[in-house]
Every structure is written in structure tokens, then in C-alpha cells.
Amino acid sequence: MTESVPLTWEEVARVYGRKIYNFAYRLTGNGDDASDLVQEVLLRVRKGLAAYQPGSFEGWLWRITRNAFLDDVRRRNRRPTAPLPDEVDRWDLASVPSADIEYSRISIGDDVQKALLELPIEFREAVVLCDIVGLSYEEIARAVAVPVGTVRSRIHRGRKLLRESLI
């Protein structure tokens, strides 16, 4: 874990932007939503850095990131023009290769991404923070504000559901 604190939000953007984007992409399944989320997170970082107290910077950053993601999910769910079926359809599109040239065209990658999107959010974010972002259970616990035992349980249950989807 990196304990040194970047000086500016621009440095946060340069050091963590790609990780935040990958976190967001794997959670949402599409590049546009991931880009929006990165911008929202950087905005919150810019506002919050002045009040940041020395401590676990990554815990702070990932708490901001997952809160921004959850706020976005809640906003979408509240939106009357976006009933659930549309939402499901939209998320199903995640399996369609985007314009992102980096996106894996290997079918197994598409399957894994699709299976991730089928996970309940709590499990999905725990698995992504662990396997994509590379945080320890303790760091995930701080970011998600749950006990480490809950993180352990969510990751294992998430992987069991992934196995059912992938087999």
C-alpha cells in the first residue's frame, strides 16, 4: 500500500487514473460510464484533498471511488425514465466489444466481464477491488467500510457465483 500522499489532484489523476478507470470499467462494463466515473472521482478528490488527513491515502481514494460508483447506481435506479428492463439491456451491452482498442477480443475475456456484471454489486466491487485493483482485504474493508471478515465472505461468494456463470 502506498502511504505517501500525492501532492495534487493532477498527480492523483496521473498515478491512479488508470486504476480508477479499470475499476469503473469492470464494474459498469462500458467505457463511457467508466470515463464519467473517473471524472466524478477526480472532482471529488480535488474537493476533498484540502481536508484530507494523513492516513491511508488509498483507503481514502477507493472509498471516494466506490461511493461515486454507488451514487451513480442509485441515481440511475431513481431515474423514472430508466426502468429496470432498459437498465438490464444496457448492461447486457457490456459483452459487446466497445470502440476501446484495448478491449480484449478474446471471448473468455468477454465472458468474464459479462459474468462480473451479473454479480450483486457488493460481491462485484469486492472481487474487482481485489483482483483488478489489487487491494488487500484490509484495504478493501477500509474502502467499503465493512469488517475484513465481510470482505473475505463477499470475495469468496462472488467467485463462487462467477464459477457458476463461467462453467
Binding site: 493532477e10 478507470y21 479499470n22 473517473v38
Partner: protein, 137 residues
């Protein structure tokens, strides 16, 4: 016997104590179901980790830009600041005279951190202007 379940994923992630690892393997050794779950979890974990790390879309993150003023310096001594001090020390060294040296170096150390000019481990400043250390003392 209770199946260890969650210990399997935690083991793969390096999150178990030695005692928990022993507990897990003493069970897995005699339980085909958990042995196959361990193997399956290993495959699932590897599959997720094999997803490619995507590049940031161009223009999403600001490039280094002089007009963007830092909002807040929290703590620590970052490379950029260290480089600035080195540059400043070099500039002072070029101009330094006995009459101004003590004051300017004191100011430097108080404003930009004593480490940059005093810490023996901080090689560049000392190498570039070794006489500055003498001036401070």
C-alpha cells in the same frame, strides 16, 4: 465436518495466517469437494486477473500543466519538490557569496525542508554544491 469455504479464497489471496493455512489443508487433504473447490476458485481468480488492463481514454486525465496550481500539500517529500529544491540550490550555488550564503540557505531549509540540503543521503544537492553544507554549518 464444516467445510472451510471462505478460507479457500482467502488462501489464494495470501490473506491467511499460518494456523489458518494448516487448518485449511488438513481439511482439504481429506475432502474431495473442498479440493475441487480450491481448484475451481483458483481458475476463477486467474480468469478475472487475466482481464487486460485498459488504457485511459485520451484526454480523460489532465497532462502536466503549469497553470494548474496545486491545491494542497499534505505531507511527504515528493520528487517534484525535491527537484525544485535541487534546481534552487544549484541556482544559489552559482550566485552564492560569503555575505548572503548563511541567510539564503537557512531560508531554503526552513521553506523547502531540511532534508533536501542537510540529509547526507540526499546525494544530488551535496554533490552539486558540496560547499553549501559547510556554509550551513
Amino acid at each position: 465436518m464444516t467445510h472451510p469455504g471462505e478460507l479457500i479464497s482467502a488462501y489464494l489471496d495470501g490473506e491467511l495466517t499460518r494456523a489458518e493455512i494448516q487448518q485449511l489443508f488438513s481439511h482439504v487433504g481429506g475432502c474431495g469437494r473442498c479440493a475441487s473447490e480450491l481448484e475451481a476458485m483458483q481458475r476463477v481468480r486467474a480468469a478475472v486477473r487475466s482481464l487486460p488492463l485498459l488504457e485511459l481514454p485520451q484526454g480523460l486525465v489532465p497532462e502536466a500543466d503549469a497553470e494548474l496550481v496545486p491545491l494542497h500539500r499534505n505531507r511527504g517529500f515528493m520528487i517534484g519538490a525535491a527537484a525544485a529544491v535541487v534546481a534552487l540550490v544549484i541556482a544559489v550555488a552559482a550566485l552564492v557569496t560569503p555575505s548572503v550564503s548563511a541567510i539564503s540557505v537557512d531560508e531554503l531549509t526552513s521553506r523547502y525542508g531540511a532534508r533536501a540540503s542537510l540529509d547526507p543521503a540526499f546525494g544530488p544537492a551535496k554533490v552539486v554544491v558540496p560547499h553549501l553544507v559547510d556554509i550551513v554549518e
